[in-house]
């Protein structure tokens, strides 16, 4: 059985930063990632990030991803790619699938940074080829460099829907419309303004009724909805599109955390069932930490700060940081996190995070 001090599951924004902080503090760290490349979703985030200087605002996600890879290597983080963690077993043993065989990895601390899944939306025709996740489209256009279709309907006007619409335009597609069931645009207004300037209509109070086509999507039928989300008859419109992108939220990818026995809370503001954690990102099970979208759906910038916090706290718990330094640096990271969770877009998440921390104290 292999051994490591800190096992980080998932090499995305949160996992990479966690590993970098722990390794810089002196811990032996192994990132396990099922993909060919670490970096998670950062490499498809080709837009400039929000926040302030410490959050690397104004820098594109793809650039941050490149920097993190370099930092991880410099810090001596070991990376096991093409490796699936199929289970967490007692005594912090991880079951790994590497190609055609399985292995076990014993660790003193596990940091779970497994990220999120895109939510689906079911409607007649939703299984037709051409209906896909907005994140899936983003992967295809920005990583794989292929367009899944020329004419696109985007469902959902949260930040993901708006950003991916913009990136589809950048990739050379036509976004016929962005529709949103709510009566308002949930994402940042500036993202919406960008695509409006490019001529893309954003229809609030609309839903997709069905996708039509023989073997794949040929058109979408949309309709206005009333306050109870029921389609208003007579408001149907047919859009000639070949791709329907679903940007209807994300859910924490929490199987391993459930399996480990973490306590969960249901918090819609954070994407559903989320493992409870304390202000060090540690769960109710000592030595198991969470960070990033798994610990609540937020932005990549928050995921990175949470990763740093988890990594630092984990290294500290192994004795790699003088208590005073640990306390100071964790406080600084908490302040950086707090700065990203204020205002009308952040308050809800801040409140939910507080509930999550309170859940740690319950029996």
């Amino acid at each position: 059985m292999g051994k490591t001090e800190i096992a980080v599951v998932g090499g995305g924004a949160a996992g990479m930063t966690a590993a970098i902080e722990s390794a810089r503090a002196g811990a032996q760290v192994t990132i396990i990632d099922e993909n060919e490349q670490p970096g998670g979703q950062l490499f498809k985030q080709i837009h400039k990030f929000f926040g302030s200087g410490v959050h690397r605002a104004g820098t594109r996600g793809v650039q941050i991803g490149r920097d993190l890879l370099r930092e991880a290597e410099e810090a001596g983080v070991q990376t096991r790619l093409n490796t699936v963690v199929y289970g967490i077993f007692p005594d912090k043993r991880l079951g790994l699938i590497c190609g055609d065989h399985t292995e076990e990895l014993a660790s003193e601390i596990i940091i779970l940074a497994t990220g999120a899944n895109e939510n689906a939306l079911s409607f007649p025709g939703w299984t037709l080829p051409g209906v896909m996740g907005a994140g899936a489209t983003q992967t295809l256009i920005n990583i794989n460099r292929v367009l899944p279709g020329r004419r696109i309907l985007m469902v959902g006007a949260g930040n993901v829907g708006l950003i991916v619409s913009y990136q589809l335009l950048q990739a050379g597609a036509d976004v016929i419309a962005v529709i949103e069931g709510l009566s308002y645009i949930g994402g940042y207004g500036v993202h919406a303004s960008k695509i409006r300037r490019a001529g893309v209509p954003i229809l609030t109070g609309f839903t997709v009724l069905r996708a039509e086509g023989k073997e794949s999507v040929e058109r979408a039928v949309i309709a206005q909805v009333d306050e109870k989300w029921q389609p208003i008859s007579g408001s149907e419109e047919v859009l000639e599109v070949e791709t329907i992108c679903l940007a209807v939220g994300l859910s924490p990818l929490s199987e391993l955390a459930w399996m480990a026995g973490c306590r969960f809370s249901f918090l819609p503001a954070l994407g559903g069932w989320v493992p409870a954690h304390d202000e060090n990102m540690q769960c109710n099970l000592p030595g198991i930490y969470v960070a990033g979208d798994l610990a609540g759906i937020e932005e990549a910038s928050t995921a990175m700060e949470e990763g740093r916090l988890a990594g630092l706290a984990a290294a500290e718990s192994l004795g790699y940081l003088p208590p005073e330094e640990g306390r100071k640096r964790k406080e600084e990271l908490r302040n950086r996190l707090a700065a990203l969770r204020i205002g009308s877009f952040g308050e809800g998440r801040a409140t939910a995070k507080k509930k999550l921390m309170r859940a740690m104290c319950e029996k």
Binding site: Y86, G87, F89, P90, R93, G95, T102, E104, E255, M259, G261
Partner: protein, 395 residues
């Protein structure tokens, strides 16, 4: 104000739902208490089959009567339980298990059951037997498969339609008795339900419920682990067990096992492979007593997977999509279910200790308990399964 019902059923697994369903057909007013959600225990953590050919001979008649009820249940409940009468095969590649299978075949034949012992010719033609042929195969033509989730929910929905009040997230805290008679059930919330009869259908938690009325129900959780694969093409034989199953599940003795088999049997591992209606295979089985520890262990998962591949190397290309553990409610005194009214406590009924046969025995359990509560008699003798059997065995 306490609410009044004729019967309170404790447990929302397949047994509790079946009891509630058959009771409601007789017109009794019923409330069902489930501490989590419907089908959240053993009923939702099994392979959804009735391989009656390996059952303890004593339970086979009860199981056969149950499978008869299952055959019409989809129509009766107006809910597809994915009932399939596909039969099953019991196979071995170990010479020492051959006498075991031959003996079993004779026993089943004597009971007049529709089974074949394959001749050599058919063994060689067995699909997927791309290693050496099996040494013995019993094919049962009467075994059935169904979706345990759909069966449990189908029973629950029908019970609800017939007026049963189903409470989920409703753990029972106390059962009140007055003069050796059941009086009421009190939930952890403090809510009280007056009911002259209570059925304990709490699966692996039966002992804790029994303690509330001072009755020791000798049932403990027996952990079982299962691997689920992705969908595969329909198999001609969707339900396959190996000779080790008789040994680990029913304690049938056989001599001559080698070191590897001994180790495997010590972990409770035996082959039990079932393909569900959607095409996914469930790979079992394992048995151990680990209290209420529901974790999986890589040793058992790997052991089960290796054992599978020793039979069907072609399965190596199937991806596993998940695995889980569940608790069989295992009667630690003799492994048999405990059914019927409890001694010395009027109004308390047991539907407990079904071990790995809860799905198999659920309809008959529900029907007979309902009969006993409403008429005092049962249409099928319960003598072998009553609690009193423990008392008579006392030294």
């Amino acid at each position: 104000m306490a609410k009044k019902f004729d019967v309170g059923v404790i447990g929302g697994g397949i047994i509790g739902c079946a009891v509630a369903y058959y009771l409601s057909r007789s017109g009794a007013s019923v409330v069902l208490f489930e501490k989590n959600y419907i089908c959240s225990g053993a009923s939702g953590a099994n392979q959804g089959g009735m391989a009656m050919q390996v059952f303890d001979l004593k339970t086979i008649p009860l199981a056969l009567a149950s499978s008869e009820l299952y055959s019409g249940l989809s129509d009766e409940l107006d809910y597809d339980i994915e009932y399939r009468k596909n039969g099953s095969i019991l196979v071995t590649r170990d010479a020492y298990q051959v006498p075991l299978l031959e003996r079993r075949y004779d026993e089943l034949k004597r009971m007049g059951l529709d089974v074949d012992l394959w001749d050599e010719n058919k063994l060689r033609r067995f699909p997927g037997g791309d290693r050496e042929p099996f040494l013995a195969v019993i094919e049962s033509h009467f075994d059935i498969q169904l979706s345990p989730f759909r069966a449990t929910y189908g029973l629950a929905f029908a019970a609800k339609r017939q007026g049963v009040k189903i409470l989920t997230n409703a753990p029972v805290a106390q059962i009140k008795t007055v003069k050796k008679k059941i009086h009421s059930v009190v939930l952890e919330t403090g809510e009280e339900f007056v009911c002259g009869n209570v059925v304990c259908a709490a699966g692996p938690w039966a002992r804790q419920i029994g303690q509330m009325v001072g009755l020791d129900i000798p049932v403990e959780p027996q952990r079982g682990q299962i691997i689920v694969t992705e969908q595969a093409a329909d198999s001609e034989y969707p339900y396959i067990l190996d000779g080790s199953y008789l040994m680990t599940a029913y304690g049938v003795k056989a001599v001559g096992e080698d070191e590897a088999a001994r180790k495997r049997h010590a972990m409770g591992i035996a082959g039990s492979y079932a393909q569900d209606a959607a095409g996914n295979w469930t790979i079992g089985s394992s048995r151990d007593m680990a209290g209420f520890d529901k974790t999986n262990s890589p040793e058992v998962l790997k052991g089960m997977a290796r054992h599978l591949l020793s039979f069907f190397p072609g399965m190596k290309d199937l991806n596993c999509i998940r695995f889980f553990a569940g608790f069989r409610p295992y009667c630690v005194r003799d492994g048999h279910p405990i059914l019927g009214r409890a001694p010395d406590l009027s109004g308390f009924y047991l539907a407990a200790g079904h071990a790995g046969e809860g799905v198999a025995l659920a309809p008959m359990t529900g029907k007979l308990i309902a009969e006993e509560i409403t008429t005092g008699k049962t249409s099928f003798p319960l003598d072998d399964f009553r609690y009193e059997r423990f008392e008579s065995k006392r030294p």
